[in-house]
């Protein structure tokens, strides 16, 4: 039939072009990485030497072990802390609940390494809290560097994700399920365990996976606060960029091991959660109730304490950004010196961040509208493969994607290393999924017959797409684009590998200033970053009309 043929042409062309883009900028780099890990750098022969080297030295295997330790502990702790938090917020009336939800969200949206650096300022060797405890009470605070610090920072940073996931799921649990259980004499802890937990398990698994992947891939936190405690991303970075002359092949080998590990975790999670998924939608959602006495106080204390701890790093960083500095040291009194020197020293990084992020977002918006449409409405083999491709950034850590792009595009015929293009490509690939997912979610709600109505009224396929389909997708696209935007401006692990003097971003600038001990400038830049994030988030709430975010 004619109509079908026409659709076939246009959409096949579009999906093929996007598909080729993914092949070139995702599949090829990852394949190159795989190839390099098996080829000896000097002889060019097939060799397993890199893998032998990795597994034969404790120095390297320890990093894997450390990463697993950190990731598992962070994931469990996040669930243990944020699960009850979400439950309390859904069942108990908390004063200022709406504000608290936004604060928790903001805390999760900042770059994790800013948290690390703030906690060093607070609890580090000469941190304010450490000094105060020593001066006033003579108490020596435990070391924050190493495993403890990473655990603290990442748990506070990532548990909001679990909170958001569980809150969302609790919203979908019908209160009559709770009442039905109660009418059958199943109450309290027993009810929570028998009814609520099984219903929340898929959500906990999904949220847990996200936390796991984030914690596993995080580079800035262990780099700043880990000191001797080396995790895999740190190892990859130092092997690749290391002062002693980076070893591409070896870094590639580690990357391959990491990707294999991450993929297995991802598949395992998929397998388990597929067996335990329910579709729920609540007619009578659970409504927070006013509690009395101790329970009420305990609930408030828990919620407020968590919010305070989660917000503390950013608040403290913002505070220090207004302190007077003398050289690198904070002195008494307040001033805007840090901002002034931030603008004069690293002002270009602010421009770079905006430039890169805006170009990226424009590409993301176009690509995700097309990809979402192709994968939802024009199902086919190519569209299915495309769907799988867009999932890849969940599995491949940012630093590994950075390395993969760099080793692939640092030689003819396509030299991209050192350009803004390579950063944009990396950002697009990594942050596209947010916009695709929220666009696709809206599209799933749109019945095919709306498009058919337009066609039967005489509109062509393209006119239907632009006049009917795209306007209906718009809310999802905008919401997703803001999420992508926030995660682009706060991204570090890819940019730290791909940046050059000309393409330094704000997060990279903050990181390098922290490493150099220039805390004032770092604080000013981070505060600026937080302000942009908060404004973007508020815009997100305003435009999407939502009160929460699913990632």
């Amino acid at each position: 039939m004619n109509g079908r043929m026409k659709r076939w042409d246009i959409w096949t062309l579009i999906t093929t072009v996007i598909f080729l883009g993914y092949l070139l900028f995702l599949a090829l780099p990852l394949f190159t990485l795989l190839f390099q890990s098996f080829i000896d750098g000097t002889t060019g022969q097939f060799s397993l030497a890199y893998f032998e080297k990795f597994f034969s030295r404790k120095y390297y295997t320890n990093a894997i072990w450390n990463s697993i330790k950190v990731t598992v502990c962070v994931t469990l702790l996040s669930v243990i802390i944020a699960g009850p938090l979400a439950y309390i917020m859904s069942t108990v009336k908390i004063k200022g609940a709406a504000t608290i939800r936004i604060l928790i969200l903001i805390s999760s949206m900042s770059a994790p390494f800013i948290g690390a650096y703030a906690w060093i300022l607070l609890l580090g060797r000469s941190g304010v809290v450490t000094n105060a405890m020593k001066d006033w009470f003579g108490i020596t605070m435990p070391e924050i560097y190493g495993f403890t610090g990473i655990l603290l920072v990442l748990t506070l940073q990532l548990s909001p994700l679990i909170f958001m996931y569980v809150s969302g799921a609790l919203n979908n649990v019908d209160n009559s399920l709770m009442e039905a259980a109660e009418s059958m004499n199943c109450t309290g802890i027993r009810r929570m365990w028998k009814i609520l937990m099984p219903l929340l398990t898929p959500t906990l698994l999904a949220g847990g996976l996200l936390v796991f992947m984030r914690a596993f891939a995080d580079f800035g936190t262990p780099m700043l606060i880990g000191e001797g405690f080396r995790t895999v991303p740190v190892l990859i970075f130092t092997e690749f960029i290391g002062e002693v002359g980076g070893d591409d092949g070896f870094a590639a080998a580690i990357s391959v091991i990491v990707v294999i590990f991450a993929t297995s975790v991802f598949l395992l999670q998929k397998y388990i959660s597929n067996k335990k998924s329910y579709s729920m939608s609540a007619l009578n959602p659970i409504v927070p109730k006013e509690k009395k006495g101790f329970a009420n106080i305990a609930a408030h204390a828990y919620v407020y304490l968590f919010t305070l701890l989660a917000m503390l790093p950013q608040l403290y960083v913002a505070y220090t950004s207004f302190k007077k500095t003398s050289g690198k040291i904070f002195v008494d009194g307040y001033s805007l010196d840090s901002y002034r020197s931030a603008f004069s020293k690293v002002g270009d990084s602010i421009f770079n961040t905006f430039f890169l992020a805006i170009v990226t977002i424009v590409i993301i918006v176009f690509a995700s509208v097309l990809i979402a449409y192709a994968t939802v409405k024009r199902k086919g083999t190519v569209a299915n493969v495309l769907d799988t491709f867009t999932m890849m950034p969940y599995i491949v850590p940012g630093s590994i994607l950075g390395i993969a792009l760099l080793v692939t595009f640092n030689k003819q015929p396509m030299v991209l290393s050192g350009t803004a293009a390579i950063l944009i490509i990396a950002f697009v690939i990594r942050r596209l999924p947010y916009t695709i997912r929220s666009s696709a979610a809206v599209l799933h709600q749109v019945s095919d017959s709306v498009e058919e109505a337009s066609i039967s009224l005489g509109a062509s396929t393209m006119r239907t797409f632009f006049k009917v389909t795209v306007p209906m997708m718009l809310s999802g696209v905008v919401a997703g684009a803001i999420l992508s935007w926030i995660t682009i401006i706060t991204e570090l692990s890819t940019s730290i590998i791909l940046y050059t003097g000309k393409t330094r971003t704000m997060t990279v600038a903050v990181y390098t200033e922290v490493v150099r001990g220039n805390y004032g400038v770092a604080a000013a830049l981070s505060t600026l970053l937080t302000v942009i994030t908060v404004i973007s988030l508020l815009l997100f709430f305003k435009l999407s009309g939502k009160k929460e975010i699913t990632m």
Partner: protein
């Protein structure tokens, strides 16, 4: 411009499965034609072939003799009303109605005028600036209808347009649809699984099963003389009885095997197999006063005002529905005898495929 629609040996296949095998049909200009059948009978598939959303694997589809098989859906000049209305959620009522005119490049002034007119016809002119989410189901239905007919389509297609409305609104809307269709006089193809709705609106009905038209006729013909047992049971309520056909004085009559027999006027005879099946609608039974008829026991009786609904258990254990107009003085457990109305009942062969009765009964 209304057209007549011709289906010439139309075939629909999904992969190797044939959904509609060689169907032929002629829909007259200006006719209100209904495709009726249980879900999965192929009625929506057929409608979507007319719309151009389903491909045609064999035969030809013609509008006024012009073959439409290869014409793209947006070039067919069709108005379509969808089951879920498919209102564009981001456009106002008048925006929705104007959409088809805009794609036809009608000038602004005329668009405004025609939109105004049609909104009056469907009686929603008061809501023209509302967004769809602020409309009730019935109002959305009217917008969908206005949007479909404002473009002056050659054919109006409606796919179960009333199934999402509540019972009362459904009756109100079907009257409105019928009236508007008569007013504008567009050839209309209507799909429904609701036989009462089909009877109420249609000029002619095609009853479908498994992609094959079982009976094509006016509502009255289909109800009175269903061409086979499937149609008889699908349209309205009926009781199926086993009986034997005999010849009494050269006229075919039906023998119920207990001394009761009834001569059926105009019954075609079947010498090969005397076993027949009878379709007797509840109102075609009568409680006999003269001691003859099919014997049974009263099992339940519900007084519904206009008539009384009875369940009678026959001697073979079969329960039949009887609608009694009068105030028959029978109680639960009473022995009763039932007679049939010989002019109205339908007699089929043993397979239920062939109707021996002729003429549309009174």
């Amino acid at each position: 411009m209304s057209v007549n629609i011709t289906f010439n040996n139309i075939v629909k296949k999904y992969g190797d499965t044939t959904v509609i095998p060689e169907l032929s049909l002629e829909i007259q200009k200006g006719e209100f034609f209904t495709l009726l059948g249980p879900s999965g009978c192929g009625k929506t598939t057929l409608l979507r072939m007319v719309a151009g959303f389903n491909s045609i694997e064999g035969g030809t589809l013609e509008f006024n003799g012009r073959v439409m098989n290869q014409v793209a859906p947006n070039k067919r000049n069709i108005g379509m009303v969808f089951q879920n209305y498919a209102i564009f959620p981001h456009m106002s009522v008048s925006g929705n109605v104007a959409f088809g005119l805009q794609t036809r490049k009608v000038n602004k002034q005329e668009i405004a005028q025609r939109v105004e007119e049609i909104l009056k016809v469907v009686q929603i002119e008061a809501y023209k600036d509302r967004m769809p989410k602020n409309l009730s189901g019935g109002q959305q239905q009217r917008v969908a209808l206005a949007r479909a007919i404002v473009i002056r389509p050659d054919v109006l297609l409606m796919d179960e347009p009333l199934s999402n409305l509540d019972a009362k609104l459904r009756i109100e809307m079907r009257e409105a649809i019928k009236q508007i269709q008569r007013e504008v006089g567009i050839t209309t193809v209507y799909v429904t699984h609701d036989q009462e709705e089909a009877m109420a609106v249609s000029d002619r009905i095609a009853v479908m099963k498994s992609g094959v038209i079982q009976h094509l006729g006016t509502p009255r013909e289909i109800y009175r003389r269903p061409s086979n047992l499937f149609v008889a049971t699908f349209i309205g309520r009926t009781n199926i009885l086993d009986a034997r056909m005999t010849l009494v004085d050269g006229a075919a009559s039906i023998d119920f095997g207990n001394g009761y027999s009834e001569t059926i006027p105009g019954l075609k005879t079947n010498s090969a197999n005397p076993n027949v099946k009878l379709s007797v609608r509840p109102e075609e039974f009568k409680i006999s006063n003269d001691g003859t008829g099919i014997p049974g026991v009263m099992r339940s009786s519900s007084f519904l005002g206009m008539h009384t609904h009875l369940l009678v258990e026959l001697t073979n254990g079969q329960q039949v529905e009887v609608i009694s107009e009068g105030d028959d003085d029978v109680k639960l457990g009473d022995q009763v005898r039932l007679k049939i109305d010989p002019r109205k009942v339908n007699v089929y062969d043993e397979t239920g495929e062939h109707n021996f009765t002729s003429g549309v009964g009174v």
